[in-house]
Amino acid sequence: MSTISESIPTPDQTQGGDVQAGVFDPNDPEGPPPERRVFLAVTIFVVYFAVVLILGKYAPGTVGTIARGMLRESISAQTAAVAIAIIGLNIHFGYTGLLNMGQAGFMMLGAYGFSISIWHGLPMVVGIVMGLLAAFVFALILGVPTLKLRGDYLAIVTISAAEILRYIGRLARLEDFTGAAQGIPGSQYREPFVGLSFFGNGTFDLGGWLPTLQSTGVNGWWVRFVAWLLVAICCVLVWLLVRSPWGRLLRGIREDEDAIRSLGKNVFAIKMQALIIGGLFGALGGIVYILPSSMQPDAMGRSLTFFCWTALLLGGAATVFGPVMGAVLFFALRIFIQGASDALVPNSIMNTAQTAQFAWICVGVALMLLVIFRPQGILGDKRELRFNV
């Protein structure tokens, strides 16, 4: 617990090495210069894709198959969708310190709003607005009781609310509205989006380097292009938000709420805004998530929230590129573990379904180890991630 008198260093005392851990230093808020982080992120991406592309094209047998699987998964639209959701979670947790354990609920609301609106005949723009509106209301309902209380309560309420949303989505009684447990097939809502494509029909694979996919199609290059373009836009948005005075307020609240309150700021309102904005990103992620496949309530359960958390912590919370890197590496690693276990462990010990579960067990253990030993992940700054509820 830091008192206010210790928290604000005078200008001539401040150098990078003197800043106490957990203290918000207005002269050095980002830790290592952003240029170094961008350089690190770009290097990792380039190396990773180079390795996977080369192995996918030239390596024979299982190694090649696994590499191709990893490549396919890394550029898929669903990875991009999860990256967008993680960007939202980054605003909640990385920058504001809110423990939102129900990001999958936001995703589900965005997805349902979008798919139900289009299924019932509304235009696509209205569908997107409905999805975002649903997430907005959800954030309000969850935030109003809990944001004035300790962080545990938000975690409890969000984890439960996301489950309840899933139950509601599965209700047989609402089948005409939501499609009940089997969900809404992609064909019901995909047409307006596919209709926008200017990639034409046919397939494209860059001379064998990339997986052979249709240019438009259901899960082809068009949806991937749009998804990753949205990821880029969201990254820029977050960068602008965080650089602004409002972004500084968020980080101040994360470090020491009482200090910000003593400066006269309405902490509750700011936390509410952060919850809503992060939730809107989550809803957008949900919309992109269902575009290449179908709307299934069971696919957006607690597991998805935990993937988002593990990926966020892996990539680096409180950074702009951390969510994207975390998403790509996380999904690729999962495929890698699954493929490697499938190839190396005989089926009598671990059949295919069990390999998948083994990969998830690794996710759980990885989350624990990350939080204990390296909470800043790959790109993060350790000083920003000392937190107490």
């Binding site: 009781p145 439960s160 489950e163 309840i164 139950y167 083994f358 067990i361 204990i372």
Partner: protein, 453 residues
Amino acid sequence: MSPGRTVPDLGRPRRSRRRSSRPGARIVGLVLAAILVPFALVLTMAAPANAETCLLASAEKGCIVGTIRTEVDVVPDVVITVEGPNGFSETATTDDRGKWSVAITEPGDYTATLDETTLPKGTVVDGSATQEFSVTNLAQTAARTFGVRTGDYSEAVSFSDRVIRSIFSGIRLGLLLALASIGLSLIYGTTGLSNFAHAEQVTMGGMLGYLVVNQWGVNPWLGIVLVVIFCGFTGWAQDRGIWQPLRRRGLGLAQMMIVTIGLALALQYTYQYFIASDTVKILLEEPAPRALGPINYNTWDVMAMVISIVVIAAVGYALLRTRIGRATRAVSDNPALASASGIDVDKVIRLVWIAATALAGLSGVLYSLVIQHGMRWDSGLQILLLLFASVTLGGLGTAFGALVGSLIIGLVVELAPVAGAPGDLKYASALVILILLLMVRPQGILGRAERVG
């Protein structure tokens, strides 16, 4: 975030001198051993989970699978027809575990239709008997769920009878929840940690109970004792291997909470690894069910409630009258002061962890004995919501509050269907109570109002 509770680790060096990775490896090793060793035994005993016609989904041959079950039991001998592109059409019949599967060779749009004439008498489809879906990735098994329920399961019973029956099941559920939530509340009270993996401890009790009683054929009473002892041991291992070292490192509470979430995730998938999507229920040769007025019950219902009441009373007595109980309450109240007056805080916390996990294990065993729908690998999800609602309702940190809260939540959850809540939404009633409570009285019924932020 406002500064929350931390437990200062007085009397020991704040940072461990050893900076090598060995402590980390030990932590991981202990955790994995504690989780995986008993389940490795299952491998030698029970057959691996799925015996389907369609075992391996690969890029060339995919699988569409499903299980037909009502809220009471699985339904065998039901016919499902799957039609797909290029005139593909195959039928499958559910086996004696309610499972069906169809092998497919190409992705595309498929339709699965349940033949309602093959459903047994009194069972109807809840929702649509036809499902349309598309398979894009053959290597991923596509699972289709048909909602099926017993047709007249609530029509012939009068309203007041249903209410009385629901009150009975509510009290029963409440007592089982109380066993688990007292532990959760004590852990929170003494360490400030919200343990998101507690529900998985309950599931562990249920699974181990099934293993010991049904698979190994041990006498149920002895089985219960064995399971409780083992679960208490996992609590000891957790505190020794994970929580105490982390407290000594000074890890923040929010980080520890995320560690519990990771642990919950790992445990859930460990359960799924061993039992797939089966439902686990301890089946005993029960004497015929008895009736008391409108309530149908059997011996084990009464036994479970009696055991719960006795254990809860014992815990209450221990907290109020024994020295160690007083020490526990002191640590809950103010750990620094308790330590200053000579109480060994670490020992108390270790004891709390052992007791909490043992109680959760007991709750799990009794749950899988008496609750009809048994336990699945993901039962922890529902139970966690109820546990948190109970603990918050009663007051975080007070054991007696947990008891009161659990009874109320149990009653609400069982009475919600009578009031009209459909299916799984009865758990939503617990959430609604939680949200309303947090707006009006966040410290719960028996909690003390503390200024937070």
